[in-house]
Amino acid sequence: SPGGGGYVDNAPPADPGQPVYGGHLRVALEGETNNWLPGRGNHVAPAALTVAMALFDPLVRLDHEGRFQPYLAESVTPNENFDVWTVRLRPGVQFHDGTALDAEALKWNFDNLHKRQGSVTFGSIRDIDRMEIVDDLTVNYFLTRSVVPFPDMLTRAVGWPVSPTAVQRYGEEAGLYPVGTGPFQLVEWRRDDRLELRRNDNYWREGLPYLDAITFRPLPDEDARVASLISGDMDVVQTLRQHIVDRLRRMSGIYLYEQLGNSSGSAIFNAHRPPVDDYRVRQALAWAVDPEALVEVLGGRGISPVQTQYFNEDSVWYSPRVAAAWPQKDQQRARELVSEYINDPQRSDGLAVGEPIALELMCLPEQSLVDLAQMYQALWNAVGFDVRLRQVEQATQIQSVISGDYMTTCWRTSNEQDPYIILNNDFGPPDVQPLNYTNFTHPLIDEKLTVLRTEPDFDKRKAAVEEVMMLLTEQVPNTWTGSTPSAVATQPRVRNIKDWTFPDGRLGDGMPVAQVSWAQVWMLDEESWLAEQAAVSAAAEEAGE
């Protein structure tokens, strides 16, 4: 049965060997992206992020220790107040169309693509007031207040410069013709079919990339994607689904790369909506949950560890104290809380004493989420709730969540950013922070957010995070399932999916959310592949004798 035995050792070799130049890689993605223009397209999905790693370069990236390091930028430095940040660009970097990446281009990006109404990134940079050019390669970002984790903003779409000339040239169609500084440049995009890229010969990193070309193909059907790997149609596939990871773990003849993310599935509660406005109800819901069962339903046993907070065990922000305090798997406790609420004459849902608590759980028509929702339903009904599922399309879900017109909903949290950014989004005051979908606020959180925003010291920041997390174990604005695994499976000829490095040789953060740094991936050609095979079998024979 899944989660049990049957796993094969298909981990990539520790030593990937010598890089080989050339080759045309075919990559199957989870989905398609609507628009490649940063600020216009919706670049949070893994499929978009991984392609962006080929087309664009972020100004800042995280290293393996979770610290911000300049990548496309040469340096990123704050003033002592952390409200003015100076970014210095590397000299000589060019966009694919030959336009130089300079301060002018960067400012143009900021002004025209991001800091404008209707831009997708507008909300995430509300703390940045404006940007000024210092010299040819230097700019200053002026913030409205101190933000210590400012560089985080430059790891995402805001930090992916595109060629201003190209955007202006293509006008309304700029989203179809991405021109970045990345290791690969666009040949052709046939939406929903393929994105053909070829090597950027003027890439700023000497000797990179290794591959000649990459074809990205969106194959949204998980089984079809795996099938395309088996049949050899594809060289690389990505997935974030536990049961697919489980399948991949059983497949020999491939290499499987996994990396656990901080993100997790969850159910979020609308704190403005009875009965989940009452923390007792939310607590009861949390105690009733058996996260292992949820993970099991997702097919993730042995793949996704149960999540108890915003970060997984591998994260530097992880707190064992919070993990221990997180309410879960105590039906008795849940029932008590339920009956306490039910018998409260002042119960917030206005129902008569003794009436069961009616709850509506919204979910998307995506099969694994439907399964998940049904498991939630069963678990909650078991402790005395009366849960109704409401299945809605994504369009309706987002609309309802944004307008606060929901009670509880299945939600996927994206926790890969800095704690300040995450927590500020999720629990900032709803009137200024539209991303606070739970409408949950607390003075303690506000206080700790200020610490996180202004305090550069890691330990102090971590303590603040822990405080907030502890509060959440009591207030429970949401529940968790298991950490989202991200996996990339490749044909064995493909090498070095995960171990990318900064120009100075520092090891990068791997492949969070299956986001691969394509510049440093290579692929054995026929010759070296055969040679390697021969060597392996010779070695095996030798060992046998």
């Binding site: 339903v297 049904q374 339903q377 399309e393």
Partner: protein, 314 residues
Amino acid sequence: MPVDRSRSPRVPAEPLSPRRSSGGSAARTSRALSFSVAVRQVFGSGFGAGFWLAAAWLLIVLCCAIFADFLPVRDPLDPVIANRLNPPLTTNWLGADGLGRDMLARLVHGARVSVVISLTAVSIGMVIGGTLGILAGFFRGHFERALMAVLDVILAFPWLVLLLALVAFIGQSLTAISVAIGLLWIPAYARVARANTLSVVQREYVLAARAMGASTLRILWREVLPNVILPVLAYGLVAMGLVIIVESALAFLGLSVEAPQPTWGGMISEGKRHLATAVHVALVPSITMFLTVLSLNYVGDRLRSRFEVRESNL
């Protein structure tokens, strides 16, 4: 899918060629039209074992749907994680699904949804479409032309698009889905009913009733309706099969009846996730649905062919 087989080639009858029908030929024609044969065929033998097998299967499905709550099956909504993806013939006779729920129980309860959806949808189509069709065929003229034009326009839209829009608009409850699919069915039914009405109205008993002073309402009710309803009902069986398929297509896109209500289509699309590891999750409901739709098609087609209106009348 609402395949509209009622629309016939638009070959007009021979333009204005008066046909002498006299003596033997007319007698033979009327003999061919004679209902004695038809009725003997309907109520007598001649259906064959296949028909009765199919009918028996439909009866079983119907019984499951009606008595689902009383049948000795497990709780279809109770997830037992330990049973997750159990293959058939273990703790669970037909295996368990991804949540460890008993497939047999879900099939039995899913039958209810299938029956409710197909009955409701077909009834809606039948009542609204049938009424419109009968009225159009009976009153002809502008009303008919307008109705046919509207139906033509509606038919121009792929049914799935209409359905997606309807479902997005009215929601995904059992009622909403039934209604959405039912609305989709109106054009097909209107056409079938109209075609049959046209042929009935030509019959001289309608004229005779008129001559006797029967009111229009009486004619519609006593002369037209009884003769239109049988072929329309028989078409209903085939349509029910199609409704089940349509539901499964919706379920495949995740837009059918909301969980945890088990539906066959929903079970199939749920099983799709486990195709590689536990085929039975998709296969068992697939086979059930296949057999049911096959039976509906077969029985419906057999019945329909007995009442079918000749092409030229369509």
